[in-house]
């Protein structure tokens, strides 16, 4: 069985028809990872013991005639800001280099109950702060299409692992585009669910009003299967919502094209890709309509005020006392010294920048001018979407202004890096579901060309619309 041809459904059929065992496939993935990941750097560490015990359990269940869930034995990669009990979990930060998770994230608990296999924890920007994995405290993940380019971020390790066939699918997290942008850069599918659709319990918090866990997969169908498995209300996350996802036929849906998003500023390859996606969708007899989202052009400013404000609060817990200690810190120091030394040496530059920026926008005298103002414009951005969704069911936009950029190209200029998030941030600010789908099928990719994704944004809790159109798109381009 070739790993690169596997999808969740194909794996499941092969497993129950005894073409292979879960153990064999898990081993095949590890063998391949050991060969391939030295050039990609997608994984921070592998969880072999856990994976083999999970795979064995599936094989034993099958031998005992138990009915297997569709996810049983499926080898997944997990972003390193999602807790797996007893496994080291760092969120790619040196401050958590010695931390071991005390419990399972709810999404992990659910996947375990379905029998999924966890191959390892993937690289990311430290605490999910970045768009290239260059802010990882440990290493930079390379794009499988071009090793001199970034895999995107912050879930770059998860996207690269799936794209390079080092996992069948993966979990990532998305605060301002961190699932969709790396998915677009690596030619895979990435879904950011509606805020509240998936429990955030056990996700290391970055900005709590924006964070969501979601799937990264080779196909829209796989993303839908994973999403269904992790969605739902959880007593440990008060913002989670009781929600049962059902895929509709997605036939009579109207797609909106925001005029502000197509008025220049796009890279040529990206523009060509988006045009191709629109033409393909038109052949599915989906209706298009021009719409306006006038306030979304302020999304970067709004996001880079609100997110750091929440970051500055969420990072307070890394005090050098509760989780694990840095080597330059000892219990003999004063409390104040422990705080300053731990955070000074444990946090990377981008994390420090955001913590300080967040402290500033929340500080006396500036709170109203920055934080309250940003919250008001956030409301206007949400209202733009409310208005648009009176006329259309789904909104199509680019994911990123360019294909994957070069390693080192933007990392020294944070504002330049932030501005790239313009197309993905609005869905987080408004709490909407959004998906990145590759324009081209694997077989029609042109060698030497970088992948481009297009984004579909749906109404709250209407994942079925964007996944439904996505699956029809996929059937068309793979036909």
């Amino acid at each position: 069985m070739e790993l690169k041809n596997l999808t969740i459904k194909k794996f499941h059929e092969g497993l129950i028809n005894k073409q292979f065992s879960a153990f064999e496939i898990t081993k095949a993935f590890f063998d391949y990872i050991e060969k391939k990941d030295s050039e990609i750097d997608a994984y921070l560490r592998l969880t072999k013991d856990l994976a083999f015990s999970q795979a064995n359990k599936t094989d034993v269940d099958l031998a005992n005639g138990k009915e297997l869930d569709i996810l049983a034995g499926i080898p997944l990669a997990i972003k390193d800001n999602i807790l797996i009990e007893d496994e080291p979990t760092t969120a790619a930060s040196k401050i958590l280099a010695n931390y071991r998770a005390s419990y399972d994230a709810t999404a992990i608990k659910k996947l375990k109950s379905f029998g999924a296999v966890f191959l390892g924890k993937t690289n990311m920007d430290e605490f999910a702060m970045g768009a290239s994995t260059e802010n990882s405290g440990f290493k930079t993940t390379k794009n499988p299409y071009d090793l001199e380019r970034v895999a995107g971020g912050s879930s770059g390790g998860s996207a690269a692992a799936v794209a390079a066939d080092m996992a069948l699918a993966a979990l990532g997290s998305d605060t301002g585009g961190s699932i969709r942008q790396p998915a677009s850069f690596c030619g895979v599918v990435g879904l950011k669910p509606t805020y509240g659709a998936v429990s955030r319990h056990g996700l290391i918090a970055m900005a709590s009003s924006l964070d969501q866990i979601g799937p990264i997969a080779k196909t829209v169908e796989d993303a839908a299967i994973l999403f269904q498995a992790i969605a739902g209300k959880d007593e440990f996350d008060a913002t989670s919502v009781n929600y049962e996802y059902k895929l509709g036929n997605a036939k009579k849906l109207k797609i909106g094209l925001p005029k502000e998003y197509f008025s220049g500023g796009l890279d040529k390859e990206t523009e060509k890709g988006i045009e191709e996606a629109i033409q393909n969708l038109k052949s599915l007899e989906l209706e298009f309509k021009e719409i306006s989202l006038p306030h979304t052009k302020y999304a970067v400013s709004v996001y880079y005020i609100i997110m750091p404000a929440e970051v500055s609060a969420n990072l307070a817990r890394y005090d050098g006392i509760r989780y694990s200690q840095m080597s330059n810190v000892s219990g003999q120091m004063s409390l104040r010294d422990i705080y300053f030394k731990t955070r000074g040496s444990g946090f990377g530059d981008e994390v420090k920048r955001r913590a300080i920026l967040g402290t500033f926008v929340l500080s006396h005298g500036y709170y109203d001018a920055y934080y309250t103002k940003a919250q008001k414009v956030r409301q206007l951005i949400k209202k733009d979407f409310d208005e648009a969704f009176k006329e259309v069911d789904v909104i199509l936009t680019p994911v990123y202004p360019t294909p994957a950029f070069k390693i080192g190209e933007k990392v020294d200029d944070p504002l330049k890096m932030y501005l790239g998030d313009i197309f993905t941030i609005p869905a987080n600010l408004a709490g909407l579901p959004a998906i990145s789908i590759p324009v081209k099928s694997k077989k029609s990719e042109v060698k030497g060309e970088l992948p481009v994704g297009f984004q579909l944004i749906g109404k709250p809790f209407h994942e079925a619309d964007i996944l439904g159109i996505g699956q029809r798109y996929e059937q068309l381009i793979y036909a």
Binding site: E85, Y99, R100, S102, Y103, Y195, G196, S209, L210, E235, A238, T239, V241, H295, Y298, S301, Y304, S312, I321, Y323, S324, Q325, G331, Q332, M333, L335, R336, I338, Y339, F340, R343, G344, S345, D349, K352, R353, A355, I356, L357, T359, F360, S363, A369, Y370, T372, K373, A374, Q375, K376, V377, R378, Q379, L380, K382, P414, L415, Y418, N428, G431, P460
Partner: protein, 98 residues
Amino acid sequence: MKKEIISKKTLEYLAGLARIELKLEKEEKLLKDLGKILGHFEELEKVDTENIEPMAGGTIQINVFREDDAMAGKNQKLVEAFPEKEGDFLKVPAVFEE
């Protein structure tokens, strides 16, 4: 909006509030970057937000209640993860200085 490019003094004050030790050689770049980022935020001054309610969070939920019951037991693994402890208590250095 007040136009404020953060001064070196303000930066050090903020880093103090955030309990972050800054390396001197990195302060200049940090100041420059923060200045550029805050400069970009000035575009928000153009937006009319008269009578607009601030959007406080991402959730559609209002008032999520549960019974005020202690949930079963404690997670012993959380206690085991403490770097220093006495019994099941997290041990910290003295909070008040003499």
